[in-house]
């Protein structure tokens, strides 16, 4: 019983393992839809120029809701991939996750500072837009890489 409490304490803020697949699917669908938008209109999201339109026409509403759906899908997809449980959770993995998260935040803001210095105008705004999701992306890459190198060292040890 004590073990179970400890186990659940360690993994308190994680999604079940199956959420990773759901996250991958969600992200894949969103990316495909963004690509379709890109080839159709040249932007990854549909145009939602409001200007002085009042009342807002129905097709603009649809387009706005569609964009919200895409953006939420991307964020949720990344969150599910980043923070779902591994098949075997243990304390070393929890440590690795925390280290990777810290690494990702450092790298993210280091790059952000660099962008503040070298970019202006629209280019900078574009970076800010991507900066909303890059911490998650850096974290996923770092964490996966750490897990991969851990299992590679295991194989090397057995041989």
């Amino acid at each position: 019983m004590v073990n179970q409490t400890l186990q659940s304490m360690k993994t308190r803020f994680l999604f079940p393992h199956k959420f990773r697949l759901a996250g991958i699917l969600l992200l894949a669908i969103a990316i495909i839809l963004c690509m379709v938008n890109y080839f159709k209109t040249g932007g990854i999201f549909t145009s939602t120029y409001l200007g002085n339109l009042n009342p807002i026409p129905p097709d603009v509403w649809v387009s706005m809701i569609y964009n919200d759906f895409l953006q939420i899908s991307i964020v949720l997809g990344l969150l599910f991939i980043a923070f779902s449980k591994e098949k075997i959770e243990d304390e070393q993995l929890a440590q690795l996750r925390l280290d990777s998260l810290q690494w990702a935040v450092y790298v993210n803001y280091a790059l952000f500072i660099l962008c503040i210095i070298i970019l202006y105008d629209w280019n900078f705004l574009r970076v800010i837009m991507f900066n909303i999701i890059t911490p998650l992306i850096f974290f996923i890459v770092r964490f996966r890489w750490k897990i991969y190198s851990l299992s590679r060292s295991l194989k090397a040890d057995i041989i």
Partner: protein, 66 residues
């Protein structure tokens, strides 16, 4: 911190995988503990000691550097 995990496993004749399963961690964790790349928590050290039926100090020993 040093440990005698590899020796204890050989005496009891169990693999890294079997030990991992007994205490509910991954094989990688046992592997990294054995090669001194990971220091287990007190709980994990106690669980390992219980598997081998020995006091923790006989399996995990403080190093000169600690």
């Amino acid at each position: 911190m040093k440990n005698t995990l590899r020796v204890e496993r050989a005496i009891k004749n169990i693999t890294q995988g079997e030990l991992a399963e007994l205490i509910g961690v991954s094989r990688q964790t046992i592997n990294t503990i054995e090669s001194n790349r990971y220091v287990p928590s007190t709980v994990l050290a106690l669980k390992i000691a219980r598997v081998f039926d020995k006091p923790v100090e006989e399996i995990f020993i403080l190093d000169d550097e600690d």
